[in-house]
């Protein structure tokens, strides 16, 4: 009996003593933290994808709270509206950013860009890229082993087994930019996202001259310059036999799509312009 009382007493006293010590230590070494960091973190999507340039959502929310000017900070996953509400909550000015979407710029599907050899190594685009140009004759096109698919944390990319190309699901894409870094051929670009996922872009990155492109792929850009001539907004530049449509200048007028002789200019979620009877010039759509 005596032992029992003694044990309870000793442990009780020890417990109270340690509790008091801990209380004072906690007071002395208290870390002051802005409670808004937690609140802002809750408003962020919590994907920890790194698309903002920070290590994770926590680091981003710390930056949002601590910096006076948050115009350079943007969470591509949350999007403009969420950033606005965060800015309102913090009493700061929200960054103005147009929504973006990743675009895969290769149109060389299996039927258009035939395979000329058989690859038997590790199924990884970066590995293929260390060996040679790939299974087709085009040195710039999609390899199709899905390094980008593995890099995407939002399930927005998938390899279409029929075409052998990677497809972007614009609704799931958050424009975090992981695929841009992952692709060894540099095929991805973050482009302005139009309503209803409309898009016009040159689906080719081949810097070879036309004759070489034609041999390797039926839908490559041959740098003929027809699209550049027809563009009313100076949105198209041609460099190294490759056309590029500036997403900031393009107004989706669709004239270039009909001009392209190889179909390298892709049009998505829009109808092509009807083929015109020759002389009458239509107004550029806006």
């Amino acid at each position: 009996m005596n032992t029992l009382v003694l044990t309870v007493l000793t442990l009780g006293v020890l417990g109270i003593l340690l509790a008091v010590i801990l209380y004072f230590v906690a007071q002395r070494f208290k870390v002051e933290e802005d409670p808004r960091i937690d609140d802002v973190e809750k408003m962020l999507p919590g994907a920890n994808c790194g698309g903002c340039g920070f290590a994770g959502c926590r680091a981003m929310s710390e930056a949002l709270v601590s910096r006076d000017n948050i115009e350079s900070l943007f969470c591509p996953v949350a999007g403009g509206d969420a950033m606005k509400s965060i800015a309102n909550f913090l009493g700061k000015v929200a960054p103005e950013k147009t929504p973006m979407v990743a675009t895969m710029r290769c149109g060389g599907s299996c039927d258009k860009r035939p395979k000329v050899n058989h690859y038997d190594g590790a199924l990884n685009c970066a590995v293929v890229n260390t060996f040679y140009v790939g299974e087709t004759a085009c040195a710039f096109g999609c390899i199709g082993y899905g390094d980008c698919v593995n890099a995407c944390k939002f399930g927005a990319l998938k390899v279409n087994t029929e075409t052998g190309l990677v497809e972007v699901d614009a609704d799931k894409c958050t424009a975090c930019g992981a695929c841009v870094k992952a692709c060894p051929k540099g095929l991805f670009e973050l482009r302005k996202k139009w309503p209803k996922n409309r898009a016009i872009y040159v689906a080719c990155r081949s810097k070879n001259r036309g004759a070489v492109v034609m041999k390797a792929c039926k839908s490559g850009c041959i740098g003929c310059g027809k699209c550049q001539k027809v563009c009313a907004f100076d949105a198209i530049t041609i460099d190294n036999f490759l056309a590029y449509i500036d997403p900031e200048k393009c107004k989706l007028c669709r004239k270039c799509v009909n001009e392209c002789p190889t179909g390298a200019i892709h049009i998505e979620n829009m109808e092509r312009l009807p083929k015109e009877p020759k002389p009458t010039k239509p107004e550029a759509e806006k």
Partner: protein
């Protein structure tokens, strides 16, 4: 006596040299057109100094070396430049090449084309190295490292021994072997000249014991012509004995420290036996590096050859002379099956580092089905650099570059022993190579940032 070899790792693939080792060196007919790449060496690409329409003669410089680690490119034939443009190399990548259409067979006047041997050399080391540099000589074993850079000893270090690589450990290839059997006199004079340039008294020719006739032949000439300080060392057959560090370990017993240390830090300079012949021709005959012996081999080939081929000759020409490609799927390799790079473009030219073209049938080349790593440790046993390939491959797959760096992935010599020995058929080297490249880029970026 037990024969020497390198201390750790290594494998013993069947050498498959019987297909082409009996074929004497044949001089390939002059090609009608050559595609001469401006990069046939490690380092900065050469700059073309000819234009479309220019007339060139054999041996004339057409690509000027840029910087110290670079090499001159000479015209392999005489004729007219028809184009200076990007054409696909063996891997399908487009590289700057000078295309020359042949007209006759004119040579630069200073080139001595007689076959008489000339042994006396009274040039100073600097003059020899300058001549080698002008002749655009690179390591002909496959790495294509400019020879003049190798022979220029950094301040504060001293060469003690010249190691000549006559190992040719790569299966199938026989170009070095044929050179040793047929052109040993030239090689020995070349070795003497390199010894003079390095100011060393001792040279060792390492030859694997699967080439006993080469060992005997060279020994006989050394005794007959009284070559002082040159010794032939038979080595036990083991791959990758021809690796620079492995060869030094086998011949001298010294271990080269990890990068950035070079073989010179243990007093050794390694040079390929075919490069020694090129040195002889450059120094004694004023003949730049415009041709080499290329083995065409493979079990399915109608005939196998060792061609003395001018650089820039399209691969098609050689294959046609050998009776064309066998039926069915084939894999073409620039080099042998262990370290060779697969070729997808048969119009690609022969370059300085191409010691052979190996033709494998689709079945021979096919990789086994990949299954999970069973942690058996065979790759660790096989690695001649003492690395852990299973780990390096895995961290590269997971893109953990810092771990790869910690485990010395940059030491990898890409010999392929790990992939060869893996019972699970894992593509170990494929991933390690990515890890190595990424880590090297990271290290260089850090060094550049530190400089600022």
């Amino acid at each position: 006596m037990r024969m020497r070899t390198f201390p750790i790792g290594g494998i013993h693939p069947s050498d498959n040299k019987e297909w082409s080792k009996g074929q004497a060196i044949e001089v390939l007919d002059l090609p009608n057109e050559v595609y001469v790449p401006m990069i046939q060496h490690i380092g900065a690409p050469a700059t073309p100094v000819v234009q479309k329409g220019d007339k060139v003669v054999t041996g004339q410089i057409i690509g000027q070396s840029m910087g110290f680690v670079s090499a001159n490119i000479h015209s392999p034939i005489s004729g007219v430049v028809t184009s200076v443009d990007a054409y696909p190399n063996g891997q399908g990548q487009r590289r700057m090449m000078v295309v020359i259409k042949r007209e006759g067979d004119e040579w630069l006047e200073e080139i001595d084309r007689t076959t008489t041997l000339k042994r006396e050399c009274s040039l100073s080391p600097e003059e020899i190295i300058a001549k080698i540099k002008n002749a655009g000589i690179v390591g002909l074993g496959g790495a294509q490292f400019p020879t003049h850079v190798k022979l220029t000893i950094p301040d504060g270090q001293k060469a003690e021994v010249l190691v000549i690589n006559g190992v040719e450990c790569e299966p199938y290839l026989t170009s070095d072997y044929r050179n040793m059997v047929e052109r040993a006199e030239m090689a020995l004079i070349g070795i003497e000249i390199i010894m003079r340039a390095l100011q060393v008294q001792h040279a060792v020719i390492g030859i694997e014991n699967n080439k006993p006739d080469a060992i005997e032949h060279i020994n006989a000439i050394i005794a007959r012509d009284n070559y002082r300080g040159i010794e032939v060392m038979p080595l036990k057959m083991r791959y990758p004995q021809g690796g620079e560090k492995q060869l030094i370990a086998a011949v001298t017993g010294r271990q080269v420290p990890p990068p950035p240390a070079l073989p010179i830090s243990v007093g050794a300079v390694v040079c390929n036996i075919s490069s020694a012949i090129a040195v002889y021709e450059a120094v004694q005959k004023n003949k730049p590096l415009i041709e080499r012996v290329v083995t065409i081999t493979g079990k399915g080939m109608k005939s196998t050859h060792n061609f003395l081929t001018r650089f820039g000759t399209p691969l098609n020409v050689l294959l046609e002379r050998a009776g064309g490609l066998p039926e069915g799927d084939v894999k073409l390799l620039n080099g042998g099956p262990m370290m060779g790079r697969s070729i997808v473009e048969t119009s690609a030219p022969i370059i300085k580092g191409c010691s052979g073209i190996t033709v494998l049938s689709g079945a021979e080349a096919a990789r086994g089905k990949e299954i999970a790593c069973i942690k058996c440790g065979r790759c660790v046993e096989a690695c001649p650099m003492g690395l852990e390939p299973y780990l390096l491959s895995k961290v590269a797959r997971l893109q953990k570059w810092d771990v790869a760096e910690e485990h010395n992935t940059v030491d990898c010599i890409e010999c392929g022993c790990c992939s060869y020995s893996c019972p699970s058929n894992l593509p170990l080297l494929d991933y390690i190579r990515i890890g190595k490249q990424t880590v090297m880029t990271n290290i260089r970026a850090r060094a550049a940032a530190n400089k600022k």
